[in-house]
Amino acid sequence: MSAAALLRRLAWSGLAVLAAAVLTFGLVYLVPADPVRVLVGPHATGAQLEEVRRTLGLDRPLPIRLASYLGGLLRGDLGHSYSEGRDVLPLIVERLPATAQLALAGLAVQVALGLPLGVVAARRPGSLVDRVATLLALGLVSAPVFLVGYLALDLLAFEPRVRWGLDLFPVGGGYRPLDPRFLALPALVLGTAGAGAYARLTRTAVLDELGREYIRTARAKGAAERRVVWRHALRNALGPLVSQLGVDAGAFLGGVAIVERIFGWPGVGQLALRSIETDDVPLVMGTVVFGTACVALASVAVDLAQAALDPRLRRG
């Protein structure tokens, strides 16, 4: 990708983030909720409500508030959180390390589970193996994360500890930086949730490649089937798989709220949930815009990676 093309992609990504900000802003203010009332509580008089509203700038017309928010956004200012009394950006940034660990580990699990499952299914479409793999993948896709999360906590941490005194994983989850015992279960839950969809995608992509002529040529030349599938077909099927991984990485970095909530993981997702629960509009906006930016940047990174994988894409 040329520098100009990269700049173009980045500009489009920026526009996408701005569009997301405008949409979120509209949604947040369309909801007939009054954050001020929740903020000041039942003892407050009408005058106090107005005072707080004025302090927060909520008495200004909507378009002006939007313009001032977008202006701040362009300067990298995500606003000031009502409930935390601090700027939004540092609040998000200080939670990023925890979320990044979880996101990376979750992606690793997703690939480790989803990729083989998809390839195995693609090798003999319609066979028993394919059907079992497909069933498994569909099960993973449709299992709700909150259920899998609590089941994992119960069956892999709590029951072994209470029944047999086995200290496999910390009971009830929790967080300790870079400690694999704490990271394992949330990563497993996050990864299995993504693995189903990833397996389906892998199956389709590999199947697609297996029908191509170069595969027939390779087989005709007597290449081992294992080599045909894993080296030739999979390598060429990587395009959409890397794209998907990039988008997932962005989404995970933007916060995986439910997994973080269940396991007590102090990441961006928990921050987003709390901002919604406290009607902290700037923090809601901030976490959404941050999540959008993560996905947008990840997709730019994916394009760069694609270019590296596929020489045909290297030109602008």
């Binding site: 909801v31 007939p32 909720a33 009054d34 954050p35 009332r37 929740v38 903020l39 000041v40 509580g41 039942p42 003892h43 407050a44 008089t45 009408g46 106090q48 409500l49 707080v52 302090t55 409930s83 935390e84 009394g85 601090r86 200080e94 939670r95 609590y150 906590l153 119960d154 941490a157 709590f158 500890r161 209470v162 910390p170 009971v171 009830g172 989850g173 929790g174 967080y175 909530r261 269940i262 396991f263 007590g264 993981w265 102090p266 928990q270 921050l271 949930l273 709390r274 629960e277 406290t278 009607d279």
Partner: protein, 565 residues
């Protein structure tokens, strides 16, 4: 305070509202009767044992600490934490009685009820987080701490509610307005003697001095930046802050210079935040956590309270909270609700015992306004027992033999919509057709404030245990205006306002409580509410925890807990 004025997690500005909202959840597990074996105190069998010192006590909350600065921290996580670090002049005993803390004895109160004089304890030191002594407590610190609480220059801006509680102190207005930083009504009479002058007599004044807002801090360290002070809090309480990582945990260690050297308790308290209720419960069951800061989660309620293994670890307390059906007493012209007979008919149509079954018996049926732990509670007050036949006769007498249609508003948190459904069915039985509208909490509050809810399913948790805190915000003409959400019945009776003003100023004692019982009786005669339930709070405590009781004001009272060795 409204019981729902807060999200279930995260920072709340209304402390008890937060726990009550989670309580609503706690009550929706699988069906189970109220366990008879649940105790009011942990380690009941060891009740006579002598508290010991040592060990690390752990407690986990879903929400985070709002702030460790007592001037602004105001939620169910911040208060227990603040009370480890700071002391107030007076506090509550195990119940709702006020006892001295930093004050040597209870204050002397002038005959007109406007002057309170305190003598402070000797030997109280402010201690820095690193364990070094800053300096001894002085009477001037009391004046400076109260003035700081009212200071409009505090950053970030303080909670309006915090300052509101102290508005009766002489000169509070001037400090609030920013024209002076000296609170004229708090006079230093000597190194350890301080006097409060009130603009008007107020029997609740000691109650507000017991709130953590009124913690005594060294003003020169506390300053105007509450974020900085919360990061390095200096107080005189039994613990020091060793570390705090936002979103993860705060660790408190014993204050080696604490003024009560004989006090026993854990060496360290590990307060974890961001912990899901179900995860916390598993940790308590597995023995890796001592206390869950939030109530028992819904899904586990039935299993845990029925499990004989936990019979001695389940702790229960009826909250100082009343849940009620509010009926608009100032409805638009032509509304049937304007007729007190119609309101009484509705009151007699509600089957409270069924609603208690809906929440697995977690609570007590409410006959009147004041809940059991509130001074002034009157167990004999139950003017409108369940009697659908009488209700139908009343409706007919009021001119509605075939009933009428109306709307009931509720918020969307379980079990509230289910309770609203039960109310609808009860009223249908007497011919009143009710449309239930469930709204997100803040929308629901706005509906009430706009005077658009004929019927509203609501609740009120004390700010402090005094009957005035149930009468003034809920039934005064001042709170019955559009824009206010605390009086959903829009109840306004100038005669009762006058009685309430007199009772509020009366000296504390049996005569005052008798007056409040009379006020309660007179309000109930006009039937603005159907009081339905005084809810229970349940929690599970670790097997080695001793001395833990759910406190009527603090809920989690970490100052009284110790660990069995």
């Amino acid at each position: 305070m409204d019981r729902w004025t807060a999200p279930r997690t995260g920072r709340s500005r209304r402390p008890l509202a937060l726990l009550a909202a989670s309580l609503a959840l706690a009550a929706c597990g699988s069906a189970s009767p109220t366990p008879a074996g649940s105790a009011a105190t942990s380690g009941a069998a060891e009740a006579g044992a002598t508290p010991t010192t040592g060990g690390t006590l752990s407690i986990a909350f879903q929400g985070d600490i709002g702030s460790l600065d007592p001037a602004i921290g105001y939620d169910t996580v911040s208060w227990p934490a603040e009370r480890l670090l700071f002391d107030t002049l007076v506090t509550y005993d195990a119940g709702t009685r006020i006892v001295p803390l930093l004050a040597r004895t209870m204050p002397t109160v002038s005959a007109d009820g406007r002057t309170y004089t305190f003598d402070l304890r000797d030997g109280v030191d402010f201690v820095r987080p690193d364990g070094s002594v800053l300096r001894p407590l002085r009477a001037a610190d009391v004046a400076a701490s109260l003035a700081r609480l009212l200071d409009p220059k505090l950053k970030p801006a303080p909670d309006p509610a915090g300052a509101d509680f102290y508005a009766d102190i002489e000169g509070a207005d001037a400090v609030l307005a920013g024209t002076t930083s000296t609170l004229a009504g708090v006079k230093v009479l000597g190194p350890t003697r301080v006097e409060f002058d009130l603009a008007r007599p107020d029997a609740t004044f000691l109650q507000v001095l017991a709130l953590p807002f009124a913690s005594i801090v060294p003003a020169e360290v506390a300053g105007e930046d509450t974020t900085a002070f919360a990061a390095h809090p200096v107080g005189s309480g039994p613990y020091l802050l060793r570390s705090y990582t936002k979103g993860q945990a705060a660790v408190f260690i014993r204050n080696p210079h604490f003024w009560d050297a004989s006090r026993a308790g854990p060496d360290e308290i590990d307060l974890r935040v961001g912990v899901d209720g179900q995860a916390a419960l598993q940790q308590v069951e597995a023995g890796s956590l001592d206390l869950m800061g939030d109530p028992l989660p819904a899904a586990a309620f039935g299993a845990v309270t029925a499990d004989p293994r936990f019979a001695r670890q389940v702790v229960r307390r009826t909250l100082v909270e009343t849940q009620y059906l509010a009926m608009d007493t100032q409805p638009p012209a032509g509304s049937p609700l304007a007729d007190v007979r119609v309101r009484q008919a509705i009151a007699q149509a509600v089957d409270k015992s069924y609603i208690l079954k809906l929440v697995h018996g977690a609570g007590v049926a409410a006959g009147c306004i004041f809940p059991p732990d509130l001074p002034g509670y009157d167990p004999s007050c139950d003017p409108y027992p369940y009697d659908p036949a009488a209700a139908r006769r009343l409706l007919a007498a009021a001119g509605y033999p075939n009933g009428f249609s109306t709307t009931l508003y509720t918020d969307t948190d379980d079990p509230d919509p289910r309770i609203a459904g039960a109310l609808r069915d009860d009223l249908a039985a007497i011919g009143v057709r009710v449309d239930v509208v469930a709204q997100a909490f803040d929308t629901y509050l706005a509906t009430i404030a706009a005077h658009k809810a004929p019927l509203a399913w609501n609740g009120w948790v004390q700010d402090f245990p005094d009957p005035s805190d149930f009468i003034d915000p809920l039934f005064s003409c001042a709170s019955a205006g559009v824009g206010n959400s605390s009086n959903p019945a829009f109840f306004c009776d100038h005669a009762i306002d006058a009685l309430a003003a007199r009772a509020r100023a009366e000296p504390d004692g049996p005569a005052r409580l008798a007056d409040y019982r009379e006020i309660q009786r007179r309000i109930m005669a006009q039937v603005p509410w159907v009081p339905v339930r005084f809810p229970d709070y349940y929690t599970l405590v670790g097997s080695r925890v001793r001395g833990f009781a759910l406190h009527p004001v603090w809920i989690d009272d970490l100052r009284s807990v110790w660990l069995a060795t």
